[in-house]
């Protein structure tokens, strides 16, 4: 069933082994095993309710689970979601969760939180190290905003942006934290075609900058266009993996999609 990947394989950033979780009687994830590699975009796809977001929630330790998750060579099971984030595994959410009460720019600045070093006292006393750090931070954030064409909106209240822009903003915010692995939960949901194209460009740029991406996505056009590896989930279990081309011809995958629901066209 699994198609061995024989092309160039980078080292694993994230390796998930035998991840299992039941909610009551529902088996939300059973024995899920996959890797996300350096320099690649790995996509996690599957029909509605296949357990894609659950895998995200388990990886980031929102719920306890069975199995093993190694990130950057380190066992991250049992760490708090905050510690997971501090280790560099940064995720976004299905519904855009920009912070209300902050401008677009401030939302992006927020992404950098885990890497800022200036001492609390320096912040309160307007110390030089803190001010320098802030200025540097702003420059970086403006650069990233420029990349997604949001620089002109930098002083807008973040929640006033249209949905598509909010989703992009969330991706940019996550990028700002220099993730070791960027985990995006359905970034294209709610985007129009043009915005989805922008997102594809952004994702490729992220990969080119050396940040590996793990993507949960419904939009097959996007997945097939950008992913290096695709892992297919159905009913909580992995039913196929391989390159996009291989997946498109995988019988079980086609069955899972077409046999049950037929909404998953590109």
């Amino acid at each position: 069933m699994s198609n061995p990947v024989d092309s160039v394989q980078g080292p694993c950033v994230l390796s998930v082994r035998g991840l299992s979780k039941s909610f009551g009687g529902v088996r939300a994830a059973s024995d899920v095993t996959f890797d996300a590699r350096e320099g690649e975009i790995t996509a996690l796809i599957g029909p509605n309710g296949a357990g894609k977001t659950t895998v995200f929630n388990l990886m980031t330790n929102i719920f306890p689970y069975e199995g093993e998750v190694r990130f950057d060579g380190r066992d991250i099971k049992g760490l708090s979601p905050i510690q997971v984030a501090q280790a560099g595994l940064i995720r976004t959410y299905q519904s855009a969760r920009v912070f209300p009460g902050m401008t677009v720019l401030e939302n992006v600045l927020m992404g950098r939180h885990r890497l800022l070093k200036s001492a609390p006292l320096s912040q309160f006393f307007w110390g030089r190290s803190s001010r320098r750090e802030e200025a540097d931070l702003r420059r970086r954030a403006e650069g990233l905003l420029d990349l997604v064409d949001l620089l002109k909106e930098r002083d807008t209240h973040a929640v006033d942006l249209p949905m598509g822009a909010q989703k992009l903003l969330e991706v940019v915010r996550a990028l700002m934290s220099q993730p070791r692995l960027l985990c995006l939960d359905e970034p294209a949901a709610g985007l129009n075609d043009r915005e989805t194209e922008d997102l594809a460009v952004l994702l490729k740029a992220v990969r080119a900058s050396g940040v590996p991406v793990l993507l949960v996505e419904h939009n097959m056009g996007l997945v097939m266009g950008v992913a290096d590896q695709v892992v297919v989930l159905d009913a909580g279990a992995v039913i196929g993996r391989g390159t996009p081309a291989e997946i498109q011809h995988n019988e079980r995958v086609i069955q899972a999609y077409l046999g049950r629901e037929d909404h998953a066209t590109a």
Partner: protein, 636 residues
């Protein structure tokens, strides 16, 4: 033994009353997911109205008391329908809680105007002679209370379990959206739940009246006891309210009898904290779990207020100049003193705004920290001749310790529960202030606090004290604005609006909340110390629960989440009663009314509304300047 039985009977009677009030909390909570602190206010309004009808107007109790209940219920329902119900769809859960604080304040202010501040003692329904069972003598009123509670419980059980209305109530409590989809009129059920709760409080009021001394401001005691009872028992079940009420009644009566009345609220607080830590859902948990977080998130409104840097500096300079020049234009000594008090309270308000406006944590007990600061500094300076500055620092240290202990115990609590824990804390401080007579001077207060002095200069006039407070405020503001514009500030705003997403970016939520709570406690303590030095005196009611409520009103009226906005609310509520002496009478009423109106119609507060206009105006008049700024920065 006889004494023990007698105390237990007392406990049951008190507990039955608590249970009635607690039931009201539970019903409203189950339908709306919010807590109405106005409950106790209705208890007292109904009790006093009953007194007026039967004693003053001479109606027979059988007519007068039901009339009081009915009128209170109607009044309460109308009040709820125009304030609480609209608030539910507009405000976050913690702000709904605050609006009910406003309602409670309003009810107290109203009672004060109608009935004055003197105590009332209505006679028992059927004479003063107690009934003897063996050698246990039980007042007849106890039977009335227990019988009424039993009848009400039976009626309620039938209503909720066996009628269409009851089914609608239960449907709304499980899932309001689904209920509305199958044709339940959710807004009407919400009003009905509020009406039921008010009726329960009103009934509790008329039957409890003869067993206690009525005064316009004891409503909050009923609110607090009922609330503690329902949290102990479990917010989401009727049985929980009953069990919690009886348990609390027994415990407080036994503690009062065998330990000391001073510690009865301490015992209540300890039971409460124990339950919150050990079983946060209460002793009796319902099968239906209500997800607080889901509702909360949707209604958190972040409003955005950012001055262009240049405007901000100009405004700050202008504000400072006005603040410094003001004393030279004020001739009236009374106005000057009020201004000084306002400036001192502003220090506490800055901290409260950091906690509530920025971080979204509700504290209903900030005056507790003011009390700690005031009493510690005052006591040390009077008795040990400590330097006033050291006294202030000692108070800040003690407040910090208390804040940390309170925070560690309540760390897992959010929203409502944290608000309750702080309220209970403030109450505990209050009872210590009244009880530790040797240290605090008891109810009559700590007399003879010297003026603040430093480096040979005595701050013994309102004007000098005013400048001291302004100086301290400016320093505090500068520090906090420094923190708020960097990593710390962004993190706490993020925590307020989306704790989970903040965590996913690596924000240590707990540590930030702890830091904010500590800072605000220390600032309140500092303000409390200066308060004592300024008055040369400190009494428990100057820094009691009413002060906590007042601080919250000031902050909301001024504008939360702005640090400086609360100054306007503070000046308004402190200065107006001084300038218009006749208004002092209506102060409580006005502060409650203003709080409600602000929440509903001016959620950004006076300053917030003004600033919003100003920002819009400046950004319209100078778009080229803003563009220039952007390009300039990019070039750099």
């Amino acid at each position: 033994m006889i004494e023990f039985i007698q105390i237990c009977v007392d406990g049951l009677v008190v507990g039955a009353i608590y249970a009635l009030i607690a039931l009201g909390f539970s019903i409203v909570y189950r339908v709306t997911g919010a807590i109405s602190l106005a409950q106790g206010g209705f208890v007292i309004v109904s009790a006093l109205a009953g007194f007026t009808f039967t004693e003053t107007l001479g109606m027979p109790p059988i007519v007068g008391l039901p009339l009081a209940v009915v009128l209170t219920t109607i009044f309460g329902t109308v009040l709820g329908a125009v304030t609480f119900v609209p608030a539910l769809s507009r405000l976050s859960n913690s702000n709904v809680l605050m609006i009910t604080v406003g309602m409670l304040t309003l009810l107290e202010g109203l009672s004060f105007i109608v009935w004055g501040s003197q105590p009332y003692a209505p006679p028992p329904f059927s004479g003063q002679n107690p009934i003897s069972i063996g050698s246990v003598r039980i007042p007849t009123q106890d039977f009335w209370v227990l019988a009424t509670v039993a009848v009400v419980l039976a009626g309620l059980w039938y209503l909720i379990g066996h009628t269409r209305l009851g089914r609608a109530l239960r449907a709304c409590s499980e899932n309001p959206v689904a209920a509305s989809l199958v044709g339940v009129n959710v807004p009407r059920v919400t009003v009905l739940s509020f009406m039921l709760a008010t009726a329960l409080a009103a009934i509790a009021g008329v039957v409890v009246a003869p067993t206690t001394t009525l005064q316009f401001d004891i409503g909050r005691l009923f609110t607090i006891s009922g609330f503690i009872a329902v949290v102990i028992g479990g917010l989401s079940s009727s049985a929980g309210a009953l069990v919690g009420g009886l348990l609390l009644g027994l415990a407080t009566q036994l503690a009062t009898a065998y330990v000391s009345s001073l510690f009865s609220s301490a015992i209540a607080l300890l039971i409460l904290l124990g339950v919150l830590v050990w079983r946060p859902g209460g002793l009796i948990r319902s099968k239906v779990v209500r997800r607080l977080d889901v509702r909360d998130e949707k209604r958190v409104q972040g409003h955005l207020l950012r001055f262009p840097p240049r405007t901000a500096i100009w405004l700050a300079v202008a504000g400072l100049v006005i603040a410094l020049a003001l004393p030279h234009f004020i001739t009236s000594r009374g106005v000057m003193s009020s201004l000084t008090i306002a400036a001192i309270q502003f220090i506490a308000l800055i901290g409260l705004d950091l906690l509530m406006g920025y971080c979204g944590q509700v504290s209903l007990g900030h005056a507790g920290f003011m009390a700690i600061g005031g009493y510690t500094a005052g006591y040390l300076v009077i008795n040990y001749d400590v330097h006033p500055l050291l006294g202030i620092l000692a108070g800040m240290g003690l407040s910090l310790v208390c804040a940390l202990v309170l925070a560690v115990v309540t760390l897992r609590l959010r929203g409502l529960y944290l608000a309750l824990a702080t309220l209970a804390f403030s109450l505990l401080v209050d009872s210590c202030a009244v009880g530790f007579i040797d240290i605090t001077g008891g109810p009559s207060g700590l007399v003879g606090v010297p003026s603040f002095s430093m480096a040979g200069f005595d701050f013994d006039t309102p004007v000098s004290m005013y400048y001291l407070a302004v100086g301290v405020s400016v320093i505090v503001l500068l520090l906090l604005f420094g923190g708020l514009r960097s990593r710390f500030g962004r993190a706490i705003i993020a925590i307020r609006t989306d704790q989970m997403a903040a965590g996913a970016l690596g924000v240590n939520v707990v540590r930030h909340k702890l830091a904010v709570f500590s800072i605000s406690a220390v600032l309140a303590s500092l303000s409390g110390s200066l308060y004592a030095f300024s008055f040369n005196f400190l009494s428990p009611d100057m820094v009691g629960v009413n002060k906590s409520f007042e601080l919250v009103s000031m902050m909301v009226i001024g504008g939360e989440g702005t640090l400086v906005g609360s100054l306007f609310g503070c000046i308004l509520l402190t200065l107006l009663p001084t300038i218009f002496q006749s208004l002092a009478y209506y102060k409580t009423l006005a502060s409650g009314l203003l709080l409600i109106v602000c929440f509903l119609y001016l959620p950004q507060g006076i300053y917030g509304a003004f600033a919003e206009r100003l920002v819009r105006w400046t950004s319209r008049s100078g778009p080229s300047e803003a563009a220039l700024d952007t390009s300039g920065r990019r070039a750099a």
